[in-house]
């Protein structure tokens, strides 16, 4: 039973355009959400996070939107750059987060020149 779902295994976007990656969750106890970026043969790198008390968080080209009523979050990357090509993982945490993160399966973003 997947508590965090990323339904698009891959996404292809033209360089300079907006990339939108989606994530759905089922556990109402999740109150903190993160996006990680992963290149092959490397560990996940933290990108951006959002607390459930907010509906938007922005950091440079990256913006995360949270819709609690729909249990849905999205990551917007604008403008998309070739270096953004990677696998993006959505992750969620409940309460203090001491018991780890729950990850989606990831979306492979490919930026086309």
């Amino acid at each position: 039973d997947q508590q965090v779902k990323q339904n698009s295994p891959s996404l292809s976007v033209q360089e300079g355009r907006i990339s939108i990656l989606n994530c759905d969750y089922t556990n109402s106890m999740f109150d903190y959400f993160l996006w990680y970026k992963k290149y092959p043969a490397e560990g996940p790198t933290f990108l951006i996070s959002i607390s459930s008390i907010k509906d938007k968080n922005e950091d440079g080209r990256f913006t995360v939107f949270l819709n609690k009523s729909a249990k849905h979050l999205s990551l917007h990357i604008v403008p998309s750059q070739p270096g953004d090509s990677a696998v993006y993982f959505c992750a969620a945490s409940a309460f203090e987060g001491a018991d780890g993160l729950t990850f989606g399966k990831g979306t492979h973003l490919i930026i086309q020149p």
């Binding site: 990680y36 996940p44 992750a91 001491a98 990850f103």
Partner: protein, 112 residues
């Protein structure tokens, strides 16, 4: 400041062998975690620790053991390796309050 380091990077084990995956962090984080990632899947939590001397099971602990004798180190022990333990293993740490976890580069383990 190296962050989270893991050794070895790669390892091939025969069925029934044992090994320890090493993880160290130099950020003075109290919380440390072990995850595994199978092909096409997200990361799954194996064990975690909220401080020296304190460990607890995650979602997939069977076949593994951990110990935490210092703040810096969190080794993962595989006893009697099985093909189902073929995976990439990631160690992570956080200071708890901030809730963001920082990951090491991973260890790719193959059991044949």
């Amino acid at each position: 400041n190296a962050g989270v380091t893991q050794t070895p990077k790669f390892r091939i084990l025969k069925i029934g062998q044992s090994m320890t995956l090493q993880c160290a962090q130099d950020m003075n984080h109290n919380y440390m975690y072990w995850y595994r990632q199978d092909p096409g899947m997200g990361l799954k939590l194996i064990y975690y620790s909220v401080g020296a001397g304190i460990t607890d099971k995650g979602e997939v602990p069977n076949g593994y053991n951990v110990s935490r004798s210092t703040t810096e180190d969190f080794p993962l022990r595989l006893e009697l390796a099985a093909p189902s333990q073929t995976s990439v293993y990631f160690c992570a740490s956080s200071n708890g309050l901030a809730r963001t976890q920082y990951f090491g580069p991973g260890t790719r383990l193959t059991v044949t």
